[in-house]
């Protein structure tokens, strides 16, 4: 008889996640037209972190963030690494279901599930939980009960008023002070300036790459772009920017050589809604398997991270902190805000600039704010004559049949429209 070893719960969870990761990478690598060679870096990165469970940031202070609203600039300036724990694993979602009501958002459930199963490659020293949507706000306290150190960062739900601006600025200043004392590091002018520049450079690279997607010959598919932006959650920032520079160079060459990863008739789609996070790229992959191409997106796991830069008049600490605060509040198009004209405007701008044929709006079943904002976005698109498909989905890997049919039908209708024009 063979001597058998039984996995610990953590090993089992890691295997479940590795299996999910490999399943997606297999699809992404093999079921599409030739991706840029520079994508290898990102494929290997995901394999390293999610299949081989290798740590990327040993011997570094790590600050976990629960949302896009935590200013990474401040974390980098304090010699720590920001790691975003918005999570896309179904295996974690299943575990998180024990902690939250069944109708909760899968992303929040997956985040809680990851903390509860302790399946990290890099364990955060402190977790910053901004009070953005209700579910994330409450998730912070659930995670704290598991024994992690959690810092609640207050965030306003209106962005037009001067009061909310001041409230948020004070919250950011307080955060900088508290994090500096909890990490036992002094926040210096030079370090903050350098951190702002570093992130600003990463943002500029994203824009350089994104602009190339405006070409009618697309150098890169949306599913690869989501991997690139997603990697920014956890990768070493210098390694990421270096890989980005190489990728941009290759994509520029591809544009010159008129390489098209889609076909000539592929409808061009803007993707918006609940954020696709590795390995839950289910909907983007289905869209591109149905012969459409995602040319741009409006999500917090991708485009929203890189959109607006901190603009600074005077390089003093308080001025820098204030402009960082403004960058995170004013530029944000998250549906948690009372009104959201900015989001409509941004989607329409993307449709125009990227010559898109339609929009796909995904909401996670249980992600209330995106579900609620669906109606007003749909109306705005209809008014502007832009076809839009609204989908609700979760993290489960089965039952793709119905989603596939709806997406295929939408893509076909876009093709017909294109033909008639």
């Amino acid at each position: 008889m063979i001597k058998r070893k039984i996995e610990t719960p953590k090993e089992r969870q890691n295997r479940h996640k590795a299996m999910e990761a490999v399943a997606l990478l297999e699809k992404i690598k093999h079921e599409f037209k030739e991706p840029p060679k520079a994508m290898e870096y990102f494929y290997n990165l995901y394999e390293k972190v999610y299949c081989k469970h290798e740590s990327l940031h040993e011997n570094k202070a790590k600050v976990g963030t629960m949302c896009i609203q935590v200013p990474s600039e401040i974390i980098y300036a304090l010699d720590a690494i920001p790691l975003r724990f918005c999570n896309g694993f179904y295996a974690d979602d299943e575990i998180g279901s024990d902690f939250l009501p069944s109708k909760s958002c899968p992303l929040v459930k997956a985040t809680i599930g990851q903390f509860s199963s302790n399946s990290f490659t890099d364990i955060p020293d402190i977790i910053i939980s901004p009070t953005t949507c209700d579910q994330k706000t409450k998730a912070g306290s659930a995670i704290e009960e598991m024994g992690f150190s959690v810092y609640d960062m207050e965030f306003p739900h209106t962005k037009e008023s001067e009061e909310s601006r001041e409230y948020w600025r004070r919250s950011v200043r307080k955060f900088a002070k508290d994090l500096s004392s909890s990490l036992n590091k002094k926040l210096s002018k030079t370090k903050l300036k350098n951190a702002i520049k570093k992130i600003g450079y990463a943002q500029s690279l994203y824009h350089k790459l994104n602009i190339l997607r405006k070409n009618s010959n697309s150098p890169i598919l949306g599913k690869d772009m989501f991997l690139v932006t997603n990697a920014f959650f956890f990768d070493k920032i210098d390694a990421w920017t270096e890989a980005m520079e190489i990728l941009i160079k290759e994509c520029r060459q591809r544009v010159k050589d008129k390489v098209n990863v889609a076909s000539k008739r592929s409808p061009r789609v803007i993707y918006t809604g609940s954020p696709p996070i590795f390995p839950n790229l289910k909907i983007p992959v289905l869209i591109e398997q149905s012969d459409a191409i995602i040319v741009a997106d409006e999500t917090c796991s991708s485009n929203r991270m890189f959109n607006d830069m901190a603009s600074i008049d005077e390089w003093f600490i308080y001025d820098m902190l204030d402009s960082i605060a403004d960058k995170y509040l004013k530029g944000c198009t998250c549906p948690i805000f009372t009104k959201n004209e900015d989001r409509k405007r941004r989607i329409l701008e993307l449709v125009r600039e990227y010559k898109a044929d339609g929009v796909v709006y995904q909401a996670f079943a249980g992600c209330q704010v995106y579900e609620m904002e669906q109606k007003s976005i749909l109306e705005a698109m209809e008014k502007a004559g832009v076809p839009i498909l609204y989908l609700e989905s979760d993290y489960s890997p089965s039952h793709l049949g119905q989603l596939t049919t709806r997406i295929e039908a939408f893509v076909e209708s876009l093709k017909n429209r294109k033909r008639r024009q």
Partner: protein, 270 residues
Amino acid sequence: MHYFAGIDIGSTAIKIAIIDENKKLMGYKINASGSMFYKYAKQALRELLGELKIDEKSLIYTVSTGYGRRLFKEADENISEITANAIGAVEAAKRKCDIKTIINIGGQDSKAISLDSEGNVVNFVMNDRCAAGTGKFLDVVATNLEIGVDELSKYHFKSQGTPLSINSTCAVFAESEIIGLLGTNNKIEDIIAGVHYSIAKRIVKLVKRVGIKESIYFDGGPALNYGLVNAIENELGKEIFVPEFPQITTSYGAAILAHDSYNYKSEALD
């Protein structure tokens, strides 16, 4: 000496166990069910009696069980495979551990049975009319990969990488998924480990429905596959007990029942 037989006529194999008055296993036989259950069952019984040099007359009580149990007209009694499985498992693990949960994977179905401390069946569930997660599925996989079913275990333990996910809930679709994985140059061992884990996940869901209580017993032909055994153990996070002859637990249970039934009846007559 008197002897007792248990005959388990399953969808893919006929299993016969013969015990003596002291419930000692004298011998067993496993034959393919083929197309004529009744004929092959009779033939197998005759052969087994011949091998063991037991006179047909001293075989005094026979209990049939399994999918085709009603076809075996010579049986003195027939019982469901759930009961027979429970009796056989408790007896086979006697003096080693107290069985509270049984996992059985057969040729075309899988079951989880929950027992009380006396070994009575409290609850059981079966998979939904579908071959994924059964022995048949392993057959199909082995055929696709051009290896023998008995080699699956060896390949499973060779897998160094991440097991590949098989998400289809249907054996037919899963087959095409496997072909797809072969098409992208994946290692056979990683595919096999993935197949085992996809079955294991399904089985664990089934077991959860009756409740996981230790000790856990695993029988049926697929229990010969230690790769699958380990996958189930990993998914459960618990060790499981696999008997020496996992295929004959149910027929052994039927034989035990034949013994008890006969004695009960003769006592009643006295």
